[in-house]
Symmetry: C2
Subunit: 390 residues, 2 copies
């Protein structure tokens, strides 16, 4: 067999995984830690897997500086499952704390496709509740700007009455629209803040203490698809029989009480996350990774901004370091641009099907030289196509 091509994987997720991580998984595939078994064959109740699970939690705790009053849960079903779980469990936590209000509010900052979907799921589920639960869009970029790509200033946000609000929800990085919050949204200290960090998880330090819940799927920065990590402040764990009736597997307290093993967890995916966390430590931790991510993103946005051919539809105040979206001056040129990348072994540069254009996802695992090669291609493409136009 010929040597495999070196692929520059700009996929939005599942995404590139560091080669050293894959190599380690490969070498241990049939014999983990001299057990004679694959990680996939280990009982989730075995001591060997217990070490993997707890080790992964401990590494995450250290890397993110997660305080002791938070639980780390491993769940399944991706962010869309969490849309429902967050609604159910945090409304339950509010009701457990206060009893029934006449009306409870759940507040959403809508800055792109994913936070919008989360708000829609809450609206759908809220209709079924006996208590009145109102989904309030604190801000809605599409309504305010006609499209996603900007976030209105915080002083225009309309929060609900904090005494009656179960949570404020936002998506820290919108994978489809390339919009990332550069500060933690400021909310009333009585109200738990919930962040979907699926696509910028561990790409920068995060002050966990400011959050009630932080969650994300693994398949962008943390490993393979099939496991979600939920970090939740312990006082928000409500009993299953309080609040909205919810499937057992979506109940945070059941997960916490059973150390994420109420039933069989996705053992191999958790192991892979552990290996990625080891790699992150080797890279120098989150502060180091953040510096690299800043450098990679700056280069790419500069290349876009300094060209007449490319333009970024996202306001500079909220451009994602992870998902860099841009357009060319015509769709015909975009098609041509994308046709040219495949022979360079650059993959997954096409924008999300709902928005078109180009999207380069440059997660933690993406080396700076791959970004450089993309920029070199952009420059040569520009040269060829602006000369041709002259």
């Amino acid at each position: 067999m010929s040597a495999p091509p070196y692929v520059l994987n700009f996929g939005a997720g599942p995404a590139k995984i560091p080669s050293s991580v894959l190599e380690r998984a490969q070498s241990e595939m049939l014999n983990f830690d001299n057990s004679g078994m694959s990680v996939m064959e280990l009982s989730h109740r075995s001591k060997t897997f217990g070490k993997i699970l707890n080790g992964t939690k401990d590494k995450l705790k250290t890397l993110m500086d997660i305080p002791d009053n938070y639980e780390i849960l491993f769940m399944q079903g991706g962010a869309t499952t969490q849309f429902a779980a967050v609604f159910y469990n945090l409304v339950a936590a509010k009701q457990a704390k206060d009893g029934n209000h006449d009306e409870i509010f759940v507040d959403y900052l809508v800055s792109g496709a994913w936070s919008n979907k989360a708000a829609q799921e809450a609206e759908r589920l809220a209709k079924n509740e006996r208590s009145k639960i109102t989904v309030n869009k604190v801000t809605d970029s599409k309504q305010q700007f006609g499209r996603y790509g900007n976030v209105a200033p915080a002083d225009t946000w309309r929060f609900s009455d904090p005494a009656k609000t179960a949570y404020v929800y936002y998506c820290d990085n919108e994978t489809v629209h390339g919009v990332e919050f550069q500060q933690v949204p400021q909310v009333d200290p009585r109200v738990p803040l919930v962040a979907d960090v699926s696509s910028n998880f561990l790409s920068r330090p995060l002050d966990v203490r400011k959050y009630g819940v932080i969650y994300g799927g693994a398949q962008k920065n943390l490993g393979p698809a099939g496991v979600s990590i939920v970090i939740i402040r312990k006082d928000l764990l409500a009993d299953l029989d309080v609040g909205p009736v919810r499937p057992l597997m979506l109940d945070f307290k059941t997960m916490a009480d059973n150390e994420s093993m109420y039933n069989t967890p996705p053992t191999f995916a958790i192991y892979m996350v552990g290996l990625v966390l080891d790699w992150l430590v080797e890279q120098g931790g989150l502060a180091q990774i953040e510096q690299r991510n800043i450098a990679k993103a700056k280069k790419l946005y500069d290349a876009i901004d300094n060209s007449p051919l490319y333009n970024c539809p996202v306001d500079p105040s909220c451009r994602s370091r992870m998902n860099v979206v841009f357009r060319l001056t015509s769709e015909a040129l975009e098609t041509k641009f994308l046709a040219g990348v495949s022979e360079l072994n650059m993959v997954q540069l096409k924008g999300h099907r709902s928005v078109g254009g180009i999207r380069a996802s440059i997660y933690n695992s993406m080396p700076e030289q791959d970004v450089d090669r993309l920029i070199a291609y952009m420059e040569s493409f520009e040269q060829a196509h602006t000369e041709a136009a002259e």
Copy 2:
């Protein structure tokens, strides 16, 4: 490093995976199909992953002879998630078909821990519905026999009015209690039959046409933990806005309409299932596998029945071919028995923590010679301990 020990893995799940499957996954770990990428790095929307997903479906369809009027779904969250999904979706299907009855019944055959948990989840969720939904235990082994380990004759089962019944549910193989149905339960043809086959999936041929829904987690006979397979008759797919309000990710029709990719599916786990299906084909398919499973189970039950030291608490009419549970004459001897197995590299022989005793799970992947070695140990243990007692 020394050569790894050969381990005899009697785990109930996650369980042994055929070595050739693990070797193939290992060889392709960094470079699947000369893509230069790991399966874990492939976009779920890529053609390469599309081939894996559709190939896995096709193989399953052929192996199980699944008719065209069934959908195959890949979901997450294990059987416990399906407890809720089955309730939500099949009540919805009944309501979509008939409108609202005064009362709808959901019927459960309770033959062990798992079917009991499924019935409990339905009871909990039913309370939240505006329509009256009654969970009826058609039979309940614990109530009838004082403990699990038998199934009452079919002529004693008390079904609800078929015209008002959304489904009849049973667990085809009870992993904890070692109870397996040897025939398909006969139900009124108007009522969809639902089977949890998590622990005997693909261990024998199954007449799919007799079922409304067949589902199972992969981590026993099909690969790693983290993916569940749901086979559902298409006329049972109800619209999301009909019936019980349910999380989007638990909606069968949403999964079907999006080819199991409403969001990112557990791509690597699906790939592994595909490899296990290839292996099953190499073994000669389900009829062949069934013969081997019959032979392995018979040997082991014979060794138990022919000994004064061992006894099987499960009635011969419903003994599982997959999970062979047995007791010794005292708990002290059981402890001694389990202490002796580890030096022989036999693992996971301890019975489920809720029942104690010994459990040997002998899934498809377990070679007959491993069963032989277990029996040899049982015989030598018996010899040592009956001589000692004389």
